[in-house]
Each structure stands twice: as C-alpha cells, then as structure tokens.
Amino acid sequence: MVHSAKGVLALTAALLLSTAAVAQDKRVVTWNADYDPIPLAAAEALIADFEAANPEIDVQLTNFDHEGYKNAIRNFLTANPPDLANWYAANRMRPFVEAGLFADISDVWAENGLMESLASSVPSSTIDGKQYAIPYTYYQWGIYFNRDAYAAAGVEVPGPEGVTWEQFLANCEKFAAANIDCVTTGSSALWPVAGIFDYISLRTNGYQFHSDLAAGKISWTSPEARAVFEQFGRLQPFVTDNHAAIDWQDAAALFVQGKAANYVMGNFAVGVFKEGGMTNDNLGFMVFPEITPGLARAEEAPTDTIHLTSGAQNPEDAKKFLAFMASAEAQTKWNAAVGQLPTNKNASVDAADPFLTAGFEALSTATGGIAQFWDRDADAEYAKAGMEGFQQFLVQPEQLEAILARLEQTRLRLYPQ
C-alpha cells in the first residue's frame, strides 16, 4: 500500500515536472509527414534550425510509412488534424481542398513574396485563384543513359545538348542489332510508362496540349492525339520486352548491367543506379529529344508540398513554419541533403552533382512549362485509365484503335461535353 502510494506520488511529481517543462511557453506545431530516412533526417535538421530561430515554438513531426500515409491522411485530416501535413501539388490535393480540409494560405504567399520566388510552382499550388500548398522540392525527369552500353553497341554517346529524335530512333536500331534494349522501363506499377508518354506528348504538341489532354479537354481520337501515339509507336519496338511484369527497380537492374541503354526516369532513380554500381563516369543524363521542331521545351517535375490543415490548432505558428519552408535557405539545405531540386529560384544546388546541376538547368530554361506528371495532372480515375492505355499500347500496339476508343469513352463519361 505504502509502495503504491509512493509510486503514485512519484508519478504525480514526474507529471508535474514534465508539464512544467513543456509549460515553458512553448507553442506546439504538429506536422504529419511520410519521409524515408534521409529526407526525415533533413526535415529534422530544418526543424532544429527553425526552433533555434523561434525558441518559443516546438515543431513536432510525426512520421508515417510512405504507403500507409496515403490512407492515413484521409482519416487524420478529419478525425485528428495536425497543423501541417505533407501531400502533393496540382490535382492530387484537389479532393482535400474541395472537402475544405486544406486551408487557404494565400496570405503566406503574399506576405513572403512567394509569387516571385516560387514562380514556377504557382500554377500547381493554386486552385480557383487561391494557394493551398507550399512547394519545397521537385525533381526533374529525363533520359538517363548508360555510357558503357553506348560503347558496347558502338553508338556515339550523346553530348550535353542531347540528340535529335531521329538520331535517337536511329541509335535504337543499332542497340537492337547489338541485342541491347534501347529504352527500358518496368511498368507493373503503371506510372513509369506515363513518363514516356508525357514526354512524347509534350514534345509532339507542346505543354498546353498536354495539359488540356490531362484535363480531359482533348479527344483521344483527334489528329493531335494520334500524332502522339504515332511517335510512341515508333519507340515501342525498342522498349524492353515484358516490362509489364517487372518493377521499375528490376528495369534499373537491366540498365545498370548494360542490357539497356536508356531509361526515361525521375532523378530519384540516380540513387538506385549508383547503388547498383554506376558512377558519374558511366551514367549520363539528357533532356528528352525534341520531336516537333520549334516547340517551347516543357519538362516534367513532380512537386512535393506541405499544407496547412483547416483543423489546425495553431495556424499562426504553422504559417510561420510554412514561410520558413518556402525560404531559399531552408530549401537549399533540405534539397542538398536529399538530392532533389529546390523550388525557390533563389536557392542553390550542389554544383558537384552533375544530375542536379543538369536538372536545375533543364528546369530553369524550360520555357514551355513544368508538367507535374500524368498521375498528378490528370484526375485520379482518368489518370489510371490513361496509364493502362499507355501500357497496353506498349504491349499491343496493334490494339491502338480499341485503346483510343476506350480512353475516349472514359473521357466522355468523366467530362460530359
């Protein structure tokens, strides 16, 4: 009895002490995120910086498993909203904005001059004229190539300016003769094929066409859409067989081993290529070749964002943190640690990393526009139907008419004319 009373007393004392510690006037900002270990460490470093500058604020990050987060966010935004939550720009955030779960942060944008410094990300952060997101990182897509495979097939290695589309296809013939896959991909998760399609679409008809196509404004049976599939069809014979049954990492293995020469991928794949033994000496990067001459070059760069929730307990301090995440210093630091590109144009990238430098260069000179990626530009259901169509076309190009008819049917159902 005495023991337990002692225990209770000790516990009460401990609780009092701990509340006293918290009660040192620290205002709490909660943040739910879905980081892998490296980005998580980078985020924690940023939090430390922020807390050092704002000692009265305590930012508490709750990290979720990446896949689990996609479902968790749907529950916690209603049931137990944190102040801040990670998500993605453009159409991916639309359901949460429309359900009133993400808060309007146009004031943060206006007060911190973000329209200027985050100019390239304004369209993807805006819905109905209001900003709902702070973009803090993106990464370029493009063609990664294996110099050893080029050497093995006796093909001239592309220079920094890349090659023309005709040259690229001519090279593919040579790779085919050398029994090397010209372009590899692993489409069992569907999205990798969307990268190839997006680029062919952007290069054939330009950014506006592609954006309208993703928004359901353009018929799949129109001559312009057919032109995209015609170019896609020219590439089709040179894409790795059986890509539908393998993951993108499996295809990365083919690429690293020199069984494939080119890989249309996002910059996050560089880590995988290097783990597989590639170095800056034999791994190269080029922007996707121009197809229709004279089109303003557009690029793909999916953006990751942070949002203020409508149920936030401490919106004032959360906004302070958002402004910090938008700043050039914070973005430089986080992206340097993670190996991605800052969205703030005043931020800088690690000059020693050729892929980041090339990506920063490619994106900052992309006068055509920055696409988010098919599955973020298009509505979820439309995106899925599209990606299944692209995958099927790569497997069964003779089914083109059936694929286009089905996509058109889906479009007319989702976007009644």
Partner: protein, 307 residues
C-alpha cells in the same frame, strides 16, 4: 405445494424458451454487427457518389445518385473483364477437387514415413498466400524466373506469363491451385479415414476393382468431404484477392483483375476512392456469392430435415 410445482413448470418452460436465445445472443450480436450491418451499409453506399472524405465538421460529403453506379457497371469494360476472370477462377479452381482426391488416395497407405509425406503435401496450405504469390511471381519472372528460362530453353523464346494479358489469369490461378489442392487433399484424407472397411471388403468379394470401386463404393462415402471441399473451393475462388494483388496488382492493363480486386481498386486504391462504385461492385460480388451460399444452405437444410 401444487402452486410450487406449477411455477416450477412455468420457470422450466420459460427457461427452455429463453435459454437458446441466451446462448445464441453473443453469436447473433457479432453476426449483426460484423456481417449484417456492413451488408446494409454497403448496399446503401452503392447508391451514392462519395470519395471517402468527411468534411471538417465530420459531415458525409457524398451525393445520392440512385442506380447510376450500377448503370455504369453495365458498360464498364474493366468490370466485364473482372467478371469473366471470376468465372475462369470458379471453373478452373474446381480442378483442385480431382487432383486433391487423387493425391489423397495416393497418400492413403501405410508406408514408413507417410506422415512426413502427408505433411509435405499439406505444406503449401500452411504458408501464407502472400508467400505463395511471391514464389510464383519469381517462378514466372522474365529474365531470371525458372519457368521463363524453361520456356526459353524449350521454345527459344521465353514466355513471361505475368506480362501476357491472355495468360496472366491462368498463371495466377495455377498459383492459387497449389495451396487449394493441399486443402482439398487434407479434407479427403480425413474422409478416407472414415470409409467403412467392411464395405470395401464386401465390394472386393463382389469383384469390384479400380474405377468402379472408386466411383460406386468409395466416392459415395466421401460425399460429406466432397461437399465441404466444393464449398471451400468456390469461396476460395471468389475470394481470390491476395494472389492478384501480390502477383500483378490486376495488370497488365487490368487483364488479371477479379471482382474483389476491382472493388478494392475502386474504393481504396491509389487512383480510386470511389466508395459508391466500389460498394456497387461489392454488392454484385455478394449477389454472386449468395447464389452459391443459398444453394449450400438449402442442401444442408434438406439433409437436416430429412434425417
């Protein structure tokens, strides 16, 4: 005294009336909460268009659309493919019965170490479906899978089953059959234990042998085992979700989808969150299952009342 017996009788009577319900109550409660109520909810939800979100005040954000979800199903090619794949699963899964019976008869002998052989044959049923799916996915994998290399060696051109829209469903069904055969086998093995030896003896004296013995003497005695085996196989075929999810995620381009997986994709998948549409698929799947379930219940009812 007389009054006491009377109340005693009344108490006994009410006891006999109440007791069964008391014993049933926990089960009924669970059944209502976890089976009946979700069925009602799914059916209700199937008349709504809802993305699964509540707004900030916790209010439901769906809109009532009547039978629009069902009308859309009628013209949805993906639904048609899923339905056909379910039919393929149902038909081909039935192969588990003859194969399971064959192995059971083969193993139903007394040799040293037969227990070990039996457990080895039973092994695939013990391991998780996820593991079975992964093993077969590697078996079929292009470039390094055993099956791919085998076909490459025989025909000179490897077949990647999981990348081929025409073969993929059969590939997954074969993976599913492996543990299902083991399950049916164990059911038949226990059934064979109960086959009356005197009847076998009598049949033998009458000159019955081989197929005739199996067909006229053994199989009729295995009827209870066959009945259970059919039930678990039908349910197993209609529940085929984990293998599809692990091996192909419904791909390539949706060719290996089954109804249960399509429902998951539509309601909870990354590009789905159409709760109403998913619920409508679930209702259709439920209706199909109901055909079989009512058949089984009817048969069981008949057997019980005839006795």
């Amino acid at each position: 005294m007389a009054q006491a017996t009377q109340t005693g009788a009344a108490a006994r009577w009410s006891q006999r009336k109440i007791a069964p319900w008391l014993f049933l109550a926990p089960g009924l409660f669970m059944f209502t909460v976890y089976v009946l109520w979700p069925i009602v909810q799914s059916i209700t939800l199937s008349f709504y268009d809802w993305n699964g979100l509540y707004n900030q005040n916790g209010e439901f954000t769906g809109t009532f659309v009547g039978v629009a979800n069902y009308a859309e199903l009628m013209t949805d090619p993906a639904f048609e493919i899923s339905l056909w794949n379910n039919v393929k699963w149902l038909v081909l899964y039935m192969l588990a019965l003859p194969i399971g019976l064959f192995i059971a008869i083969f193993l139903n002998q007394t040799v040293t170490g037969i227990r070990l052989y039996k457990s080895l044959f039973f092994f695939p049923f013990v391991i998780s479906q996820v593991v079975v799916g992964l093993m077969f996915a590697w078996f079929y994998a292009p470039n390094f899978g055993l099956f791919y290399l085998l076909t490459e060696w025989i025909t000179g051109d490897g077949t990647a089953i999981l990348a081929d829209p025409d073969l993929v469903t059969y590939g997954i069904i074969i993976a599913g059959l492996w543990p299902q055969i083991a399950y049916v086998m164990i059911l038949y093995l226990t059934g064979l234990n109960n086959v009356a030896p005197d009847q076998i003896e009598a049949a033998r004296l009458d000159g019955a042998k081989g197929w005739k013995m199996l067909w006229y003497v053994v199989l009729p005695q295995l009827r209870p085992a066959t009945f259970i085996a059919v039930i678990v196989t039908v349910i197993g075929a209609l529940r085929s979700f984990d293998l599809v999810s692990i091996m192909t995620s419904g791909g390539p381009f949706g060719s290996s989808r089954v109804l249960s997986y399509y429902m998951f994709e539509m309601a909870l998948g990354e590009f789905g969150f159409r709760m109403g549409y998913g619920a409508a698929i679930a209702v259709v799947l439920f209706a199909i299952m109901m055909i079989f379930i009512s058949g089984f219940i009817w048969k069981m009812w008949r057997d019980e009342t005839e006795r």
